[in-house]
Symmetry: C2
Subunit: 335 residues, 2 copies
């Protein structure tokens, strides 16, 4: 039997060489110094602002190797960071730095596939891996991604500029990723095609970069965030940062047929609970003046208006006009 090659066999510098060869490809932007030096260096285009995001994924907290392939883990680690760039407005993704912590007993093949997944997402969104750090851990894998992008500063949209009277808009659907996680936790052995769709939404999310670009460039939106901690948390963040509140009409939140079907199958669960508190969902949540809704609808036909920003703080949820309470408020670490 062939012995499986692990990181201990090739060492850190062997791994860096492997990564370097793997990512060496057409780099679309000017790089002064890339992989293989102490740091990365590049020029930005004239008059463009730098946008930087950093998200960490921890094994057995954010992902489990029993549930996801290394390709999927790699792909998602890039996608969730791209979603943070989308949440800032019309940002052009440029460069990616990958911090990777893995135990010495990890197979070289595993790391290779992880990078294949990352590079697949990078290719799709024109991103170049240009540096990072590789270290050993005792047990769990750690993936720390830093993305650099550039934007016209007029197209950067903050969380904090929603105004009372603004309408609350979303892409969607919501709840699919949380439902996919629920199904994997349940360990459904023979998932139906609907269940496969929900699991896939959890494992391979797509960032809403194009929609974010269109919306931000239109000049019609007043605040913008993604729904990575769940829709409820996004609404909370926008209202908190904008020192306002919101009224939300649950029936207007886009919910997929697949989620509805799953909720019925497993004992009449509430799809709105998944939609609000699911988390790890990378849709857009934003605000605009009511008069601009038609314009936005023409620009992004899938937009849904789910509520109103109010001057009174706090968030109230209504189902067909009747007030509804939810216990949780999105996903939060440590809790």
């Amino acid at each position: 039997m062939k012995k499986i090659k692990v990181l201990k066999d090739i060492g850190e510098f062997g791994l860096i060489d492997l990564i370097r060869r793997k990512v060496r490809r057409e780099v679309k932007y000017p790089v002064l110094v890339g992989i293989g030096d102490d740091a990365f260096a590049a020029d930005l285009r004239k008059g463009r602002s730098l946008v930087v995001t950093k998200d960490m994924l921890i094994e057995n907290i954010h992902f489990k190797n029993a549930w996801a392939t290394p390709f999927e883990i790699g792909y998602k680690s890039i996608a969730v960071n791209l979603s943070d760039l989308a949440a800032m407005g019309a940002v052009k993704p440029l460069y990616c730095l990958v911090g990777l912590g893995v135990p010495g007993g990890t197979s070289v093949d595993y790391v290779d596939k992880l990078y294949t997944g990352m590079l697949s997402a990078c290719k799709k969104y024109s991103l170049a891996i240009v540096g990072g750090d590789t270290v050993s851990t005792r047990k769990d894998i750690v993936i720390s991604i830093t993305l650099l992008g550039e934007a016209d500063r007029r197209n950067i949209i903050k969380r904090s500029c929603a105004k009372p009277g603004d309408i609350l808009l979303v892409s969607g659907p919501f709840g699919d990723s949380g439902a996919g996680l629920f199904l994997m936790e349940k360990g459904s052995k023979r998932p139906s095609s609907e269940e496969k769709y929900l699991i896939r939404k959890h494992l391979l999310p797509e960032p809403r970069l194009k929609e974010a670009e269109k919306l931000s460039k239109s000049g019609k939106i007043t605040s913008l965030i993604d729904s990575s901690d769940g829709l409820a948390a996004s609404i909370k963040f926008i209202t908190q940062e904008s020192r306002s509140g919101a009224k939300v009409s649950l029936e207007n939140i886009p919910i997929s047929a697949q989620l509805k079907k799953m909720c019925k199958k497993y004992g009449n669960m509430d799809p709105y609970n998944f939609a609000l508190n699911g988390g790890e969902e990378y849709e857009l949540v934003y605000t605009a003046k009511p008069k601009d809704f038609k314009f936005i609808k023409r620009l992004v036909p899938s937009v849904r208006s789910i509520g109103l920003i109010t001057s009174i703080k706090g968030i109230d949820y209504y189902l067909y006009g009747k007030k509804k309470e939810f216990k949780k408020n999105g996903f939060e670490h440590f809790r």
Copy 2:
């Protein structure tokens, strides 16, 4: 007895609030969007190149809570990243993003002190913490730092441009940090003042930003790296990237009196072994034309010339003209 407050009690968003309040201070550079949004955004000064570095520190691999205070761990995590900027030339540190992974049972006070240490290093080197990510881990603490700096592209010095005939120069001394680690591993109960010095060199390293700036702006150095993986590894990297080799005269490597004393005390150990393979030492290793040595010596009086770059690949070590072999080649993860 007062219950110690842990992260579980305040949750992720409570922690982010705490960090935000703690780091809210005079930000010296223009920031478009800071902590509390999906990403960070800023403008660079006109005509300046962006320099980015990313280094991860893992508990029980890079640091142990039994050996270092949270202040020291925080300080060092920033210092080692600053050293990577120094290793790129005359880079002005600007912004810092902190990725922090901690178990939910960690005390709030611990995290607070960790940030006090980080902020102390940030203040010393005019760096602003502007964003990051906080996540939970199951066991070990993970600190992932991304630093952004800017530089005139003419003052960025790579590893790869050393030429045969160049002299090999260093700051120093070398070996102190490795000796400090050795002493902590040994668990010396009543360290002498020399031993305390060595341990301190391990726990609170200072990046050589000023020297790197002077040297790079002089236009006289041909390659530059720091010695974070040990002096031997630095020489290996410079020669590999520059497709050359080196001859090193061990007796010219600066060694502290404290290291010499410790080596005698513990059974005549070889100080050059600590100097070459110690690692976690943040000195500068660089090359220049022999004719420029005098100029450099006036600029940075502590400079030492320890060898020569050769066209023949491989690195040979000599002690007073006699060849010497070393088994290890610096610190390497996974090995």
